[in-house]
């Protein structure tokens, strides 16, 4: 593997890994992290199916 190969691999893999970790960190630690959606109105889809589902 050439020096150029190492640089390409480290920059490419490093960039996507850093971006991924940064984004996940922001999502999990951001202001809306603990604001879960209200599930009461989510399911079931049809009122007729409440018992069944």
């Amino acid at each position: 593997m050439t020096t150029g190969g190492w640089i390409t691999m480290i920059l490419s893999v490093g960039f996507v890994t850093t971006l991924f970790i940064f984004c996940i960190f922001r999502v999990l630690r951001g202001p809306a992290a603990n604001r879960e959606h209200e599930l009461g109105h989510v399911e079931p889809i049809e009122e007729d199916d409440i018992i069944q589902r």
């Binding site: 593997m1 390409t8 691999m9 890994t17 991924f20 996940i24 879960e36 109105h41 989510v42 079931p44």
Partner: protein, 573 residues
């Protein structure tokens, strides 16, 4: 029969669902193959430029348009276009957002069944014994060897797995957004990344698997994929690559005879090659699932105060991590270590995944276990994608035709079932699958993505679109993207699409000074004396689906018109 509004259960759930939709076989099989083919460094430059100019902006556009439509209880691409454009023809522009996922589902679920079948056959040892002919197994299992041979239901046949994956997909889609798709993705995506990391560690610790072939080691395998400038040695007769070296001086004397030719993969020369740009942009485009209609539908189940900017970027980043960070380090280096350059070149996605890799696992210590979990990984990647393909169809049928979840599942199951059966039966050379994949999974995708970005930049207007995108946003989109989304992305997309058609339909020779055109098999399969009946039937099926979808959009339009009138009444009160 009253209906309750659906929504995502959590923010991480929607991000994982969108990422799950994007992460598929292409991440682990197609991307590394392309990067190796075009010489890692040059390909990655074109790849990241395409990510910045096409991938991320269109993701933001889809998330924004989707959430905007959902605010008014519209969840399908056609319905949302009808709302945004407010013109009688607006809804028809979104018809591709229904056709594409539904038609892709028909063959994608078949490939998903291969993944599950290969995982089970790896566990049972059918793929790990000595003397297994992997090409023959693939031909019989998938039906690539002859029409109709795959319509069998034993353990070594695909039938039972098609039925299992069909049942699983419709079971989870019937359960709805939060209890179906979100639940699956919340487990499947972390499991997928965990499995990929295990396989990555295994590949990285293989060292030099065969002491008799010291050149085929992990460092050389990584170099084969990532070295930016290299010289490939080709067989003079077949043109197949047999070896690759960092420079011409490193080529041994045995490869310098008349039987071999050399191909320069120098960084700057490679960057001047239009094919490389086409491959890189195409990979970004298909990998991120943009233009599918899936992100729009998923985002429409967000609440109006939910962020779309950070969420969109996170979903894209997750896909890129799986593709470059995991896929780029696993498949090709592993194949190189056991089979060398000649074993990888020209294999394509299916060849690499279902012919080369089973052979690699057969040689690898502990290969049976790693083959099983690798195909399980592909299956998880596939099911999170196939589920996402059903939701736009379900959303369209429910809101457009005002029918129940049960009815829409039944109708969609019937239509996709016919399509899958067609692809399953006409499996020789995977002709039906390949034809539908090209015209729907590629050409229509380009068209849909172009329509999307033009509607955002010019129909909705960049000013209003910008304002909507930043409602509830946890980060700002850089202002340069106003210009990129309005001008650069559509121009880049149209250029790539034009070149794509020139290459894949008209057979352009990539020369500007001495341009020549030789229509490809895509055209010859449909027109002329060598036309393929299966390819013609496949295109006829696409046309029938398009007409059927246009009729449904027309019917749905009346329903949407009433809903829009009600919205206007409510606003005036």
């Amino acid at each position: 029969m009253a209906k309750a509004q659906e929504a995502w259960g959590s923010r991480l759930g929607v991000i994982l669902a969108v990422a799950g939709s994007a992460v598929g076989l292409g991440n682990f099989l197609r991307f590394p193959g392309l990067a190796a083919q075009y010489g890692g460094g040059a390909f990655m430059i074109a790849y990241f430029i395409s990510l910045v100019l096409i991938g991320i902006p269109i993701c933001w556009v889809e998330w924004t348009i989707g959430r905007h439509g959902g605010k008014y209880n519209f969840h399908s691409t056609s319905g949302i276009f009808d709302l945004i454009l407010n013109k009688p023809w607006g809804k028809y522009l979104g018809v591709i957002g229904f056709i594409v996922p539904v038609c892709i589902y028909m063959y994608y679920v078949y490939i998903e069944a291969w993944c599950l079948g290969y995982a089970v056959n790896s566990i049972t040892g059918n793929l790990s014994g000595e003397g297994v002919n992997f090409q023959e197994f693939f031909g019989t299992f998938t039906g690539a060897s002859a029409d109709g041979v795959a319509l069998k239901f034993g353990l070594k046949e695909v039938g039972i797995f098609v039925i299992i994956v069909y049942f699983l997909n419709f079971f989870f889609i019937y359960r709805g957004i939060s209890k179906g798709i979100e639940l699956v993705c919340k487990f499947a995506m972390p499991a997928l990344i965990f499995i990929a990391l295990i396989i990555l560690v295994r590949v990285m610790t293989l060292g030099t698997p065969d002491p008799l072939k010291p050149d085929q080691n992990i460092i050389a395998g990584l170099g084969y994929l990532w070295n930016p400038g290299a010289v490939a040695v080709l067989d003079a007769v077949s043109g197949v690559e047999v070896a690759r070296y960092p420079d011409a001086a490193a080529i041994p004397a045995s490869y310098l005879g008349e039987a071999f030719t050399q191909k320069n993969l120098d960084l700057w020369l490679s960057l001047m090659n239009p094919q490389l740009w086409l491959a890189a942009a195409g990979q970004i485009f298909f990998s991120l699932s943009i233009g599918f209609g899936v992100i729009i539908t998923y985002a429409s189940y967000l609440r109006k105060e939910d962020d779309v900017v950070l969420s969109g970027l996170t979903a894209s980043a997750t896909n890129e991590f799986c593709e470059v960070g995991l896929g780029g380090l696993i498949t090709v280096p592993a194949a190189f270590m056991f089979l060398g350059a000649a074993g990888i070149v020209g294999q394509g996605t299916f060849g690499l995944g279902f012919n080369v890799l089973p052979e690699v696992f057969a040689y690898m210590p502990g290969g049976q276990i790693f083959a099983s979990i690798f195909f399980l990984l592909l299956f998880l990647a596939a099911i999170t994608s196939s589920l996402s393909m059903l939701q736009p169809g379900i959303a369209f049928l429910e809101e457009g035709l005002n029918i129940s979840r049960k009815q829409s599942c039944a109708l969609l199951g019937f239509v996709t079932g016919i399509g899958t059966l067609f692809i399953w039966y006409f499996s020789k050379d995977l002709k039906a699958l390949d034809t539908i994949d090209f015209w729907v999974g590629t050409v229509m995708l380009f068209i849909q993505a172009t329509i999307l970005v033009i509607i955002f930049g010019w129909g909705l207007g960049i000013k209003k679109g910008w304002q909507i995108a930043h409602e509830g946003a946890e980060m700002r989109i850089p202002n340069i993207y106003k210009i990129i989304i309005k001008y650069v992305t559509p121009a880049f997309l149209l250029t790539i699409f034009g070149m794509f058609l020139l290459q894949n339909v008209l057979g352009w020779n990539y020369s500007f000074s001495d341009a020549q055109f030789n229509p490809t098999d895509r055209v010859r399969d449909l027109i002329g004396s060598d036309a393929s009946p299966v390819a013609r039937l496949s295109v006829a099926w696409i046309i029938i689906m398009t007409i059927f979808s246009l009729i449904l959009v027309n019917l749905a339009g009346k329903n949407w018109k009433k809903r829009k009138q009600n919205l206007i009444k409510e606003a005036s009160l």
